[in-house]
Amino acid sequence: MATDNLIEITDVNFAYDRRPILTGINMAIPRGKVVAIMGISGSGKTTLLRLIGGVMKPGQGQVKVDGRLVNELDQDGIYRMRRRMGMLFQFGALFTDLSVFDNVAFQMREHTHLPERIIRDLVMMKLHAVGLRGAHRLMPSQLSGGMARRVALARAIALDPMLIMYDEPFTGLDPISLGVIRNLIRRLNDALGATSIVVTHDVEETLELVDYVYYVSDGKIVAHGTPGDMRAATDPLVHQFMHGEADGPVPFQYPSANYAKDLKLEAHNA
């Protein structure tokens, strides 16, 4: 039974080598929406994406994608599910030995029996959607960071996925490329009738783009709401993050010994 939520995560705990990464995660991602998972580096955001993609299995709890329990799927089931997902990696992760065209055609050739003529038309359409039809002959090494990210986006949507996941899509981009990617995320989501999850720590770009935000800290969801809710949040942790303050609940100093003791001033003063 299809529900209104494409993804439902219930009471998920996940530990890596007995070190807890995620605890008590509950999350619902409605169909057709662009949802952000935000938080500082190392808060467990990317792990959440991996759980949804079935790369890792939760120690406890349920991850449901399109009504199916990911933790109960076997390898074939997970691969079948992934054919309906697209993922944009942080730096694109284009196959460096294949041209732009072959990168976008990769999944079509692997998973379909379409004739090469039709694959060509489809690839050109996908590349046109990200504005890089003219670059189809180039190799990944000849692309700028922003272009590579766009090609990777065209590759992610090659099979018209129901879910598109973005892992830090804005990292290291110039303002123009950043604007292009931001617009593409929204446009492609709406045009394909897909659902998108954006894992990011770029506040301004994200709040302008998404419909809903989950804020993750230390492996827990500490706040969620619309971008407006998040801007107005009074929780000190969320406030510090949203306004980029250097010190606050997340301290500026890495936990360390007494400063005077480290400088060996105690003996001197005594």
């Binding site: 993609g53 997902m85 692997e110 998973h111 990777a152």
Partner: protein
């Protein structure tokens, strides 16, 4: 003092467990590679592409080295045989040393440093730049798509390269022995034809290079696939590929030789 002893014993235990674990991973890796080889045979284009990179691009170093090794054999062999007045057996000496030992062994060592290191670096970097993860997220198994074609390309090209090394070496021996020094051409070739047995010498040489091909390619691919996804990790893995596979080739050669040529 006893604390120190405990620490050393613990370290030995740790290193041993790590070693056994890695061996287990490597065994699992080769099993998966073999199980997922179907794609490589259904889509031969994937293997042919890798054959070009591992085999064809290694040709220059293999042929040039073969020529020089053969020339040195011709020179040294002639000087020793001359002492006993049996220069006419120079062809036999050159051919047997190459076909039985030097061809398979030296070409495998060259193959490890030329193609093996490249395979490790390529796969390690694919992992570090998330290309392997991306492939998995696209529901394509990297073992079937990336590893298996390279494995078969390595296994197929190794005996062919060894054969070309030996052929080039025989030619080098001929150049020095017959053309330069003046050993009788007829006895050089006819004695060689009489003494070299197809099954005993050539086939055993081919079997050796096939085994070396499996070992070198397996080590190179595993090291790449298992490399920590950092610059340091990939460079360490590349070094380990060359060191481990060279030692494996030499060790395996001794074992194979002791089974193949028992006082025959």
């Amino acid at each position: 003092m006893p604390e120190r002893a405990v620490i050393s014993v613990r370290r030995i235990g740790h290193v041993t467990i790590e070693g056994v674990l890695r061996l287990g991973y490597a065994a699992r890796f080769i099993t998966l590679t073999l199980l997922h080889s179907g794609t490589s045979f259904r889509r031969l284009r994937l293997v042919i592409r890798e054959l070009y990179f591992t085999g064809v691009l290694s040709l220059i170093i293999i042929l040039v080295s073969g020529l020089f090794v053969g020339m040195v054999l011709g020179l040294q062999g002639f000087q020793t045989l001359q002492t006993y007045g049996s220069e006419s057996a120079l062809g036999v000496l050159v051919a047997l040393s190459l076909v039985r030992e030097l061809g398979p062994v030296v070409s495998a060592l060259l193959f490890a440093s030329r193609a093996g290191s490249a395979m490790t670096a390529e796969i390690g970097l694919m992992k570090a730049t998330e290309q392997l993860s991306a492939m998995e997220m696209m529901a394509v198994d990297p073992i079937a798509r990336v590893v298996a074609p390279r494995f078969w390309a390595g296994v197929i090209s190794m005996p062919l390269l060894a054969a070309m090394f030996s052929a080039m070496g025989v030619f080098g021996g001929y150049l020095v022995g017959v053309v330069l020094i003046g050993v009788d051409e007829g006895s050089f070739w006819s004695q060689m034809q009489n003494a070299v047995d197809f099954r005993e010498d050539i086939l055993n040489g081919v079997i050796k290079s096939f085994v070396f091909g499996v070992a070198v390619t397996w080590i190179a691919l595993f090291e790449g696939y298992d490399a920590p996804p950092t610059a340091e990790g990939v460079s360490g893995a590349t070094t380990r590929t060359v060191v481990t596979s060279s030692l494996a080739v030499l060790g395996l050669d001794f074992i194979l030789t002791s089974f193949m040529f028992r006082g025959a």
